[in-house]
């Protein structure tokens, strides 16, 4: 493994039915349909997710219009705004793993509704994994203030940054995330993001 990259096994992420229904595009005020096969889907999703993450810490510098992220440079104004006052960043990638994708593929057969739910479960699992990682990072850097996570593709931060992210974190080798030519991540339930860090007194 490359210098300065950390691998975290995030363990089992509890299912959060409310979140899952939200990812399945059911607003919180609407009652779930009577026969919605959520139980069944949760049952077949059990043990599917294997949330793992890699992360790395970089100094953050401003070079005129450019932001030097340590692993790449960008002119994104939105990211600059998000990282206002930060002196360092944490870059991470997190995935729910390949088995999750297979369970989604399996659920889709014969029932698009199950497909939708399984897809939502996958989203909840990887997001839950990211949350757990972020809590851990906040504990690991107690004297720093951490911003929310910001992903390539948000605002004016180009999705093409994914290439540099994959390279920097050696994602293929460390946690098995690879990119397609159209910059999709496989496994599909994967997230990459940047977190800004600033001194607490600056907050």
């Amino acid at each position: 493994m490359k210098e300065g990259i950390y691998l975290e096994e995030l363990g089992e992420i509890p299912f959060d039915e409310k979140e899952i229904l939200r990812y399945a595009m059911l607003p919180s005020f609407a009652p779930p349909p009577e026969e919605l096969p959520l139980r069944e889907c949760l049952e077949s999703a059990r043990g599917a997710a294997n949330c793992r993450a890699v992360w790395c810490r970089y100094p953050l510098k401003k070079d005129g219009n450019e932001l030097n992220l340590g692993f790449a440079r960008t002119e994104s104004k939105d990211l600059k705004e998000h990282l206002e006052g930060c002196t360092e960043i944490l870059l991470f990638a997190c995935t729910a793993g390949a088995e999750m994708d297979r369970r989604i593929a399996r659920a889709k057969i014969g029932s698009p509704a199950k497909g939708l739910l399984m897809h939502a479960i996958g989203a909840q699992q990887v997001e839950g994994g990211c949350d757990r990682l972020c809590r851990y990072l906040a504990e690991r850097f107690p004297d720093r203030l951490l911003t929310d996570r910001y992903s390539p593709g948000y605002g004016d931060l180009p999705l093409s940054l994914q290439r540099e992210v994959m390279e920097a974190l050696d994602c293929g080798r460390t946690i098995g995330i690879t990119l397609t030519d159209s910059l999709l991540m496989t496994p599909s339930k994967s997230v990459t993001a940047i977190i800004g860090m600033k001194e607490k007194e600056h907050a």
Binding site: L21, A30, E99, R102, R106, P112, L159, T186
Partner: protein, 803 residues
């Protein structure tokens, strides 16, 4: 001693980490190690030399990341040549006495294979083939495939090596702490596959330290007949004062590995974080210890991506239902390329206890090699049961075997010389457990002795190819007892005789015995029991049939193979539910209420209720079309309008759509195909565009369009513009729907729209997907923008009206 002899005797020492040492020499983070072959060859050489001098028999040239997915061919060639030159220089310079070899080192290509990723299997093979030919040309002594974390990619690389050079191939996979590959492979399934393909050594490297890898290595030693290798990390990376270091020191590292040598480990080295010091310590720790002699494991094992089935212990249930012989609906599905039907059959058999699935897609008018390959790939995306590839077409068998991720069951060969000449080379090349039918040019012998004679001939022929008897199962051919009263007896006698005389396993398709007789499963289940009693290793049968499954499960229970009768109790517990599902619904009650109830059931999204009510209404004489027009369509409209008004949400809409579909299915079945003559509203071709693999949204659109009476041809995901055009032209489809979820795939959508407008001007194109807007859709020239699935239905209706 030759390289292979050294490997087989052991201990054979590999090298340690390369990347870490290059970093210490100044390789910057993000800089590719292989570039140093050209820019700093002296440093690469020095590292190899240090490993040779520490005791390594083999160093891996610095080519891990060289792959056509990353570099131009010319650059690949320069790097490989330079890398091997460095290693050769080191071999020459080194002050060492042991024999010294150079491996072409190959890592993952950086893209994931289909179905999980975008890379086509043959493209992966071709990429590795290029690198392997270069490595062989520039003088590598062997090929070292390492840190492979996907079984399918490992298969592609090994196949490329076997097809493009004569060098020995060592294959090393990277396992997670859960003992699995990233894509789910287990030590047992990986070993079965790799040995089948002819790997010369197998093993594990990277990801973990020696103690954490030891249990995985022990599983390898238990399963493998070829030499096993191990190349762990120096423990786990830790940080101190901003520096990364690994937490297992050389002495400890060496001791943990050396402890495995008496258990049979014979090839060893280090991965990330290890240095020449670690290898020197390892050589010292092993000292004069020699691993026990290599031992052939005499097991008959088939494997999928992540599961294995051993034949010869418990009788194995092979699900027979994916076979179009005598199955009209499956035949139709295959002719139309409707894989969903095939996949459903697979899942229902798996849920009912099948342990292997037979896959036969041979039906007149289909391109069997293409269809079988597609079926195998799609099945493996949704089920991890090992497959039995069942075809009489050798070309279809070869194509399917290439892509099959695992070690397949191959059905079949027989005593005909021509067939043996076609099939044995495939088994030799791709591996597999072969089903051999006891018939030959003269037909099926009428005596058990005759069938045994054929079996012996087949075994003799297999031996010429080096195919072991343990990888052959004999099928003594079930004949219909109604045609010949002695048929079953001869089959069973032959079974027992072959089992005893050859020691080989056996397999029978049991259903055939009762053909033409009433209450077939009574006879069939007893025949199955009799065959099991005579040592049958596997039965090709219908797992959805309670009586047949009951016989199989009872046999296991009665022969001490079912702890605490657990399997039997589970089976018995599920029986009433299965029988209820098979019972026709009670056919009383007023039509009015049933119909009204149906409408409510669809609105509420109650699938089973909708199916039951439709069945009841139909049985009491109500017209199917009337049900559709007066109940189902109004229900769908009600839901659709609610959705548009944001009173009903996506999961509810989908449940209603599925309930409607369940009702339609009943109506179709009842009308015995007549419903199909009813004209559809029009043909719609739908697809997710090239480069995009999101299909949840597209699937919802398909379901709703079908609900509303359109004939939908779904081309799936990642579909090239030309493929869309081909389908639209062939079907003269008036409407096409395209989906794209990513900003990066919108150009592919624009290209598809353009192509359709140029070449199929009659077709109107609607688009949708997360990144699209009305405006964006117009910009790329689409004829309509579907905000959601309902909007797509409305658009399709409008396009049809405007024609």
């Amino acid at each position: 001693m030759s390289f292979m002899e050294l490997l087989k005797t052991g201990p054979f020492f590999l090298d340690g980490g390369m990347g870490t040492l290059l970093q210490a020499q100044g390789l910057r983070p993000g800089e590719a190690p292989e570039t140093w072959n050209l820019t700093h060859p002296e440093k690469v050489t020095a590292i190899h030399r240090a490993y040779y001098e520490a005791g390594s028999h083999m160093v891996a040239a610095n080519t891990f990341g060289v792959h056509p997915q990353r570099y131009d061919t010319a650059v690949c060639e320069q790097m490989i040549r330079a890398a091997i030159t460095c290693a050769e220089q080191a071999r020459w310079d080194a002050a060492a006495t042991q024999e010294r070899f150079i491996a072409l080192d190959i890592g993952p290509c950086g893209k994931l294979l289909k179905p999980l990723g975008p890379l086509d299997f043959e493209d992966a093979v071709n990429g590795f083939a290029e690198v392997i030919r270069m490595g062989a040309y520039y003088g590598a002594d062997c090929i070292f495939l390492e840190t492979m974390n996907d079984g399918a990619e490992t298969r592609a690389a090994l196949l490329a090596a076997k097809e493009n050079c004569d060098l020995p191939v060592l294959v090393s996979n990277a396992y997670g702490a859960d003992g699995k590959l990233m894509t789910g492979g287990t030590p047992e399934s990986v070993v079965a596959m790799l040995e089948g393909l002819g790997a010369d050594a197998v093993g594990v490297n990277c990801s973990l330290g020696p103690d954490a890898l030891a249990p995985i290595v022990e599983r390898y030693l238990e399963a493998a007949s070829v030499p096993v290798l191990m190349k762990p990390n120096a423990g786990l990376p830790q940080e101190k004062d901003g520096k990364t270091f690994y937490n297992v020191q050389a002495g400890e590292f060496a001791g943990q590995i050396a402890a495995l040598v008496p258990k049979g480990l014979r090839i060893m080295g280090g991965c990330c974080g290890t240095t020449p010091e670690y290898i020197r310590a390892l050589c010292e720790a092993v000292g004069k210890n020699v691993p026990p002699a290599l031992e052939k494991k005499n097991r008959t094992v088939i494997a999928s991506r992540g599961q294995t089935a051993e034949l010869g212990k418990n009788p194995v249930i092979i699900g027979e239902r994916i076979n179009p012989t005598g199955k009209k609906r499956l035949r139709k599905a295959l002719e139309e390329g409707d894989m969903a039907y095939v996949l459903n059959e697979a899942i229902s058999q798996e849920e009912r206890g099948a342990e292997v699935l037979d896959v036969n897609v041979g039906t007149p008018g289909v391109d069997e090699p293409a269809l079988l390959t597609q079926a195998v790939q799609e099945l493996q995306a949704v089920t991890d049961l090992p497959l039995q590839l069942d075809t009489a077409d050798a070309a279809a068998m070869e194509r399917a075997l290439r892509v099959y991720n695992g070690k397949a069951m191959i059905n079949s060969v027989n005593g005909k010389q021509e067939i043996m000449d076609a099939i044995f080379p495939l088994v030799k090349k791709y591996g597999g457990v072969l089903v051999a039918l006891t018939l030959d040019e003269d037909g099926i012998p009428g005596t058990a002795e005759g069938r045994l004679a054929i079996a012996e001939r087949i075994l003799a022929e297999a031996e010429k190819y080096g195919i072991e008897a343990k990888d052959i199962l004999f099928d003594t051919l079930t004949m219909t007892v109604s045609a010949d009263g002695n048929a079953a007896k001869i089959t069973l006698d032959a079974l027992k005789m072959i089992r005893e005389k050859t020691g080989c396993g056996t397999v029978l398709g049991v259903s055939n015995v009762s053909f033409g007789l009433p209450e077939r499963e009574v006879l069939g289940s007893v025949f199955l029991t009799m065959a099991l009693e005579r040592g049958l290793s596997a039965a090709i049968m219908n797992p959805l049939n309670d009586r047949m499954m009951g016989a199989m499960i009872s046999f296991r229970t009665l022969t001490g193979r079912d702890e605490n009768c657990g399997a039997y109790i589970r089976f018995a517990g599920e029986l009433p539910a299965m029988q209820a599902a098979a019972m026709p619904a009670a056919g009383s009650g007023a039509q009015e209420t049933e119909a009204k109830g149906l409408r409510r059931a669809v609105v509420k999204g109650l699938c089973r209720e909708a199916a039951r009510l439709s069945r009841t209404a139909l049985e009491s004489g109500q017209d199917g079309m009337e049900l559709v027009q007066q109940e189902i369509i109004p229900a769908l409209d009600e839901v659709g309008q609610g959705f548009e008004a944001k009173k009903i949400f996506l999961p509810q809409l989908m449940m209603s759509a599925e309930a409607a579909e369940a009702a339609f299915r009943e109506i179709k079945e009842k009308s015995g195909g007549q419903a199909e003559e009813q004209p559809s509203k029009g043909t719609v071709v739908i697809a997710t565009v090239k480069g995009d693999i999101h299909d949840i949204g597209k699937n919802i659109v398909r379901l709703l369009l079908e609900n509303y009476g359109f004939a939908v041809t779904d081309l799936g995901k990642d579909v090239a513009p030309e493929t869309v055009l081909e389908a639209v032209t062939r079907l003269h489809a008036p409407v096409c729907g395209l989906s794209a979820l990513m900003i990066t795939t919108v150009p592919a959508m624009a290209e598809t729209v353009k192509l359709l407008h140029e070449q199929a001007p009659w077709c109107r194109v609607m688009v949708g997907g997360a990144v699209l807007t009305e405006e964006y859709a117009r910009e790329i020239g689409a004829d309509g923008y579907g905000r959601d699935a309902m909007a797509a239905v409305r658009l399709a209706e409008r396009f049809m009206k405007e024609r």
